[in-house]
Amino acid sequence: MEESVILREGYTRLRKTRAAFIGGLLALLVILIGVAVTLGSAGYTVGESYLAILAGIFPETFTAPDMADVIIWEYRLHRVLFAVAAGFGLAVAGSVMQGILRNPLASPFTLGISSAAATGASVAIVLGAGFVGGEYLIIANAFLFALLASAAIYGMARYRGVSSETMILAGIALMYLFSAVTSLLQYVGTAEELQAVVFWMFGSVGKSTWTKLGIVTLVLVCTIPYLIYRAWDLNALAEGDEVAAGLGVPVERSMIVFMMIASLITAVIICFTGTIGFIGLVAPHITRMAIGGDYRTLIPASGLVGAVLLLAADSIGRSILAPQVLPVGIVTAFLGVPFFIYLFMHRGDA
C-alpha cells in the first residue's frame, strides 16, 4: 500500500517535470522571439519590439513607436517565426525517424533526404531544369527530390521487407548517390552556379516570406497533432518491431506512414532553407536526456528545443559579424556540437 502511493507520486512527478520543461521552453522561446526581432540596423528595445508585434495584431489597442511595426512586420518577424517553425519541424521529424528506425543517428541528413533536396536544387541552379518554372524552380525541385528520396527508401524497404536496417541502409546509399550527383553538377557548373549551389547548401532562413511561413506552418499544423495522437505507437515502435507488433501496432503500415510524414515535414522546410542539418539530430537527443522518451511529450518538447536552437543560432549568425550574416546552418553546428558533446559526455547516471 505504502509503496503504491510512492510509485503513483513518482509517476505524477515525472509528468509534472515534463510539463514544467515544456512550459519553460515556451517562455524561453517567447523571450527569444522578442530579442531576435530587435536585431537589425534599426535598433529597438525588446519592449518596443513586443509592442510592435502586438500593434500589428491589435492595431486598435497598441501603437508602436516610429515605424517599428512596419519594419518588424515587413522584414523581421516572418524570418524569426520561420526559424521557429523550421526548427520545430526538423526536430519533430528527427525524433520520429530516430524512434521508428531505432537508430540514434537517423535524421533527414543520414537518410539521404537532405542530400536529395540539395541535388534537386543543384539541378535547378545548374541545368535550369525542373518541374515548376519561375521563381519556385529551386524550391519545387528541392521539395520533389526530397520526396523522391523517401519514396525510393520506401520502395526498397517494401521490396526487401520493411525494417529499420533496410531503411537506414537504403537511406545511406541514397545519400552517397545524391551527393555524387550534386558534386558532378558543381563540377560542370560555372563559377556563379557553383557559388549558388554551395550557398544553398549552407542553409539559411534569410529568404523567408509570410507565404513560405504560411506553407510550412500549414504542413506542421496538419501533421504534428496526428503524430502526437499516435504517440503510443511511436513509443512501442521505439522498443522494437516485435515488441510493437506484440502490443497490437500494425508495424509495417505505421512505419511507412510515420516515415512519409517525417519526410514531408523535412522536405517542406529544407526546400525553403537549404540543408540545415543537426537540429533534427540533436534536438530530440537533448530532449530525451532531459525528460525521457515518451513521445506524448517528446514530440512537442523536441520541437520547442529545435525552435529555440535554430532561432538562437540564426540570431547569433545575424549579430556576431553584423552587418554580415552567417548562414544558420553553419552557426547551428558551431553552437550545437559542443553543447551536444557536453551533454553526451556528462549524461552519466543523471
Partner: protein, 262 residues
Amino acid sequence: MVLLMVEDLSFAYRDREVLSRVSFSMDAGEILGLVGPNGCGKTTLIKCIDGMLTPKCGRVVLGGQDLGGMHRREVAREMAYVPQSTGNQTASTVFETILMGRRPYLNWTVSPEDEERVIAALDLLDLGELAFRKVAELSGGERQRVMIARALVQETKVILLDEPTSNLDIAHQMAVMEVLHGLAEEKGLAVVIALHDLNLAATYCHRLLVLAEGSVYGYGAPGEVLTPEMLESVYGIEAVVKQDLPAPYVVPVRPGQLQEGA
C-alpha cells in the same frame, strides 16, 4: 478446459518450409515448453501463434475464437509476446516501459486504473525499487522481469515468451521461471516458452513440444518426451536421462563415452 488450440500450422519463408503441420492444445494454467535445436522453428512458431507471421495453412483458436480474422489490437488483448531480449537503448523508465503494455487498451491518456495495473505488476515482479530507473541501465535479469511485467499488464490469457532465460545466470533463470509458474497457476494463464535448457524446461513445464526441422517430433509430459533416443535423433548427441528427482534431467556425455563405461 482447452484455452489455446493450434491446428495443423504450416509456415514457409518464400518456398522454404519452416513449420510443417504443427498441432497442440493447451489448458488454462498450463506451461508448454518449446524445445529443439537452433533453427528448428521455435521463434517462427511463436510468431505464427501471435499472428505476426501469417501461416501458410492451419489455424490458431483461442477460447473458441479463430485468431486469423482478428485485428492486431484485439490479438494484443488476448496474447502477450515477449521477444528475445535485444538490450534496447531507449530512454524509457521501467514504469513507462511496463505502461506500454497497456497500449491495446489506452486511448491517449493514462487512467488511474492503468497506473494501478502497472503498480501491481511492479509489485508482483519485485520491481518497485527500480520503477523510475531507465531500462537501459538494468541488469539482464531485471530487464527480463520488466518485459514479463509489460506482458502481464496486457491482461491476456496467453503469454508467449521467446527464450526468456537466455543470458541469465542459473539463479535468475529459476527466478524468472518461478514467476511464470506462479502466474500460470494463480491467474490461470497459458504460458508458451521457447527454451534451450532442457533441464529447466523439464523442471517447470507441464508439457514439452519437441520441434525438429519444423515438425513436431514429440509432445507430452517431460518424462515421456525427454529420452536418450529423442536427444540422439533430434540433437545428435548422446545423453543419459535420469529420473531420480521430481523432474527428469538430461546429462549429456561425450561421443563414445557411454560405450566405454559399459
